[in-house]
Symmetry: C2
Subunit: 353 residues, 2 copies
């Protein structure tokens, strides 16, 4: 009935037990805790196992042990977008380094719109790290229902939802304050697109940053309704950054500065501006957010907020593993320092209206 080519049946612990003449218990110990059996038993069992190419089935082992040996990272955007954003990749790197430390793997969960809830429910993970999650999201209920620990990075700190953040409001305040102090009054703000699988999010780091911008603008008598202050949103990719730049150029009413919430978008804008013959910062200034590696080597170098992306990932993962082990007792809402990085992409505007 089955097309049994060579190995008709997988070799199990039972086969090894039978052939070696020991019990399943002994075979199990031979692999997991040799000190519990005699040296002779261990050798015999291992020999038989080796000859038959046996190794404990991870699926059965994990099931018996009631753990997966992996933590999950729920990608905030479609995988195609997430991987184009070096900031996200650094976060993942930080998470991964902690997984490595604890001998776990890192499971990337694509945020398929329709099925993200199912994906989260059925993912083979012992815990979950999410990016940009608010308590009001439907997905939070799903995770809670699963009763696995989770931590959110760049989400909104809430009770029962451990988080790792920088002070986005203050960081945004600082960079906008610098932009305004430099003389800019005509500003395009480019925000982040929403987490891909949630349609009705009201609370987010985007809002925190907008609050910060607004607070910086207030002393200058500006707010988002003023003419000259416009807001946009796009995915975090170079291409969409370029599109925003084209949009601004096409509008015939170019701002003197573009304030983005993401370096990768800022770089997209810069590249497009350059391609279209605009000089940065003489003709237009651009500032970013994140301080990805590329921000320092694009010419001119990008003024931005340095975020400790890898550290965010690491701290979140460390928290998560503590929670999984049940030893977690520390502060549930971490705030990590950021740093304003002044470089050449921000200059004095040609004319201040």
């Amino acid at each position: 009935m089955d097309e049994k080519n060579e190995q008709k049946k997988r070799i199990t612990i039972n086969d090894i037990a039978r052939i070696s003449g020991y019990s399943k218990t002994a075979v199990s110990f031979a692999f997991n805790d040799p000190s519990r059996i005699s040296v002779k038993a261990c050798q015999t069992i291992r020999k038989v196992a080796e000859d038959l190419g046996y190794y404990p089935d991870p699926l059965a082992r994990n099931f018996s042990l009631q753990r997966h040996g992996s933590i999950g990272f729920l990608l905030p955007q479609d995988i195609h977008y997430s991987f184009q954003n070096p900031y996200i990749m650094q976060v993942v790197e930080g998470i991964g380094s902690v997984c490595q430390k604890y001998g776990n793997t890192l499971t990337l969960i694509p945020p398929l719109n329709e099925s993200v809830v199912d994906a989260v429910r059925s993912a083979a993970v012992d815990g979950l790290i999410t990016q940009g999650m608010g308590v009001e999201m439907e997905i939070v209920d799903s995770i809670r229902k699963r009763k696995i620990p989770f931590v959110t990075i760049d989400g909104i700190p809430s009770p029962d939802m451990p988080s790792v953040n920088i002070d986005d409001r203050q960081a945004a305040f600082e960079i906008m304050d610098l932009v305004l102090a430099t003389g800019h009054r005509s500003i395009a703000i480019v925000g982040l697109s929403k987490v891909s699988y949630e349609k009705n999010t009201t609370d987010s780091i985007q809002n925190k940053r907008l609050e910060g911008y607004l607070a910086a603008m207030e002393p200058y008598g500006l707010d988002f309704s003023c003419s000259g202050i416009d807001t946009y949103t796009c995915e975090c990719t170079i291409d969409e950054g370029r599109q925003i730049a084209r949009l601004l150029i096409g509008s015939g009413n170019l701002p003197t500065c573009v304030v983005t919430m993401s370096d990768i978008v800022a770089i997209g804008c810069m590249l497009e501006f350059s391609d279209q013959g605009l000089r940065i910062p003489q003709d237009i200034s651009v500032v970013g957010f994140d301080n990805i590696q590329e921000a320092s080597f694009i010419i001119p170098a990008l003024t931005t907020i340095d975020q400790p992306a890898s550290e965010k990932g690491r701290r979140a993962a460390e928290m998560l593993f503590s929670m999984i082990k049940g030893t977690y007792a520390a502060e549930k809402h971490l705030f990590i320092p950021y740093r304003l990085v002044k470089r050449e992409s921000l200059g004095v505007p040609k004319e201040t209206p």
Copy 2:
């Protein structure tokens, strides 16, 4: 006040069956194949499940289904290095997009030196994609022992080891030929470091590329033993690229061109050269390999080989899923087109000796 609902015991299919008055079979069908039971039964069961916050345990489900619902990617280098290389990230993105398509997750397996064999043996994956693997590697035996399908990207095509590659030899030939035709005779070649978890690899794409370089050099009467032709190796990071550049400058015998096997290393070299006051390509030329995004926006733009990284990942993943499903029958060794990309980082050397 149900103590046992709190955290004493997890709610299982048995609880739902008992409380709803239906069998475990019916409960299972309510979640997996509602058409097999009556509408009424389905509603009743779902209601009870909802009230109790029940959802089939993924661990048990996967065990019963004998599949993990995830494929693994064995990182070629330490996670810290792998994530700094946009080429690798693009490959992962390609793999991930296919996982998303098939409703699977993507498990990243950190290549911890000591335990990579164990990691591979125990990873909760239905198949494995590796980067830069040769048949002679110890890890191959481990994977085979696990009897899960695997595909290698940028490895050496071998029987029973499906692979996805470009023609590295020819690509390397073309770019070296261009370098030589441009007039360079004093060349530093910067290769890739070995796959982190294997110490004695003789066969690799690095060697294929060296063959290509050599073939291009031959008509010019050059080979690796010639004075002026030097070879180096480093991790694929900007920092190590910079180190190579410093090494070259420090040697007092600067080549006229640096030929690297990785854009990220090329960019590191370029940044360091620039920082040290050398002009590219007037004072020194640099060429890369991969054509990562950054290669097009660094100034001067990088001459390189365009590799379809994302496509490599996608093709490898598609192969792997076919193998997992047992429907695989096509060509086992894929070669994908590459493209020589001429940009400004390669120029005519100042003096041709």
